[in-house]
Symmetry: C2
Subunit: 287 residues, 2 copies
């Protein structure tokens, strides 16, 4: 059984789970386990790892339209170097500071492979589901797409400074809360834009029609993409960008005070996920 199938089985077994985070009694709880081999390429600093691990969980809370209250992280490593642990904590603290959450510590575990499990707790009385999109609405994405793909390319060519910089994303907690009153469906783009659209389409029983030209492709992608196909690959399929993908009535955003850039990338339709008229494959990052 692959992870996606197993996660589906887990969701069936656990009623309150599903969407980006679980909600129980007004609390939003989400957890993510990341490890060196697949999540932290050579060159990733412990500061960036702390930022990114906790940021991934903050992004899940953001996707529910919730505030972020507290974060913890369990840190598993073969050795506990004081500078490394401190750098990790600094990164976790700094990403929390961007969102209003408090980083309140965690656990250490002696572990062969560097492994981090982060958990964030938030609050909302009115979580935004994945299932509320309707034909006639518009579909939007926050920020830019493709930073993580560009980061991997930077690490591969030995530019660790740019790799780390691109890896440290800003979780969209403020935007998620601002959008919650008007967003009809929302999730984060951690599996990539294409897969996110398919997941929203399935949950909402709708379709999407987007335009390639509208995607807010990050400037770092323009620098490294070898051609137009590669550019699309990095922006729509690579995943792990942790932007919000959401739907809303076309004029609804006029009433929202947002400090985060938001781009309308297309429309909600009755069925089918297409880009410029062609079917958009349901593939992306498999966690």
């Amino acid at each position: 059984m692959d992870e996606r199938s197993a996660l589906g089985m887990l969701a069936d077994a656990v009623g309150a789970a599903g969407d980006d985070a679980a909600v129980v009694d007004g609390l939003v709880v989400t957890t993510d386990m990341l490890h060196e081999r697949t999540d932290f390429p050579p060159g990733t600093t412990r500061y960036t790892a702390g930022w990114r691990a906790v940021g991934a969980s903050l992004s899940d809370v953001a996707a529910m339209g919730a505030d972020a209250t507290a974060a913890v992280a369990a840190y598993g490593a073969p050795t506990f170097d004081a500078d490394e642990v401190r750098a990790f904590v600094d990164g976790a603290n700094d990403v929390c500071d961007l969102t209003g959450a408090r980083y309140v510590g965690g656990d250490l575990d002696s572990h062969d492979e560097f492994t981090v499990a982060s958990t964030v707790v938030g609050r909302t009385d009115d979580p935004v589901p994945r299932s509320g999109a309707s034909p006639g609405e518009a579909v939007y994405v926050t920020g830019t797409l493709g930073r993580t793909g560009a980061a991997i390319r930077a690490f591969e060519r030995g530019d660790d400074e740019q790799g780390n910089a691109l890896f440290r994303f800003e979780p969209r907690v403020d935007a998620g809360q601002a959008l919650a009153p008007v967003a009809t469906a929302m999730m984060d783009s951690s599996d990539g834009l294409a897969r996110s659209l398919h997941q929203l389409a399935e949950a909402s029983d709708c379709g999407f029609d987007i335009s390639w030209d509208r995607l807010p492709v990050d400037s770092s992608v323009e620098d490294v993409a070898t051609d137009a196909a590669d550019r699309r690959e990095l922006a729509a399929f690579f995943g792990e960008d942790f932007e919000l993908v959401f739907t809303a009535p076309p004029s609804a955003l006029e009433s929202v005070d947002l400090s985060t850039p938001v781009t309308r990338i297309g429309d909600v339709t009755a069925a089918g996920v297409v880009a410029d008229g062609d079917s958009l494959p349901d593939r992306g990052y498999t966690h």
Copy 2:
């Protein structure tokens, strides 16, 4: 740097951390990472692993005198066998059911070694610290001591059924809440009774005088202990029993309605941790 030193450094770096769980805005959050090599001996079922991992975090919440609201767990393993994942979820669900918490899912991660990171969120407006014990009070422990040591012996001799049964402890969430109004200091015994007493003594700037004969040694220990010294080793030093160790004025427990057995094992003194007049070593389980 060993884990204990690193945890101390972490606690210094993160203001809200410390004690058994962090408290922020009335929320109690705790996380624990466990893995096969040190926490799940051969013979441990996935059902027991789910129970025990989530139970360890529930115990931390219990030690704060808080209720337990929600639990999540990240499950890392080389493969995702449907029966194993389901058994793990069943164990996590069942231990939550004992405490009123809801198990609301988690994350799956492809991982060379079976690894679990569990997080529990609870609520309290008045957490019980480790620092409130005063000379003249009594010191107590819930339940019995030594089950985990006896479980390891059972696994070693191939009696997996008894090992698993002893490994599935009942987190003392109900007792922790009932005791919260009268307990002056409290923690769980996951590092072993001896180390727990030293930690309470340090936090409260007090001492303890306990009697070996008063310890509520589990009947499973009586079955496997080779002599009196071994019996003390399993009951007071082995650790991972997840009982509550707490202090209270001697008559205060009369007003508490408890379904959990509680044993008075000695008294709070001005300084020094002694058992029957001899210094009690500060050693135990190092996570």
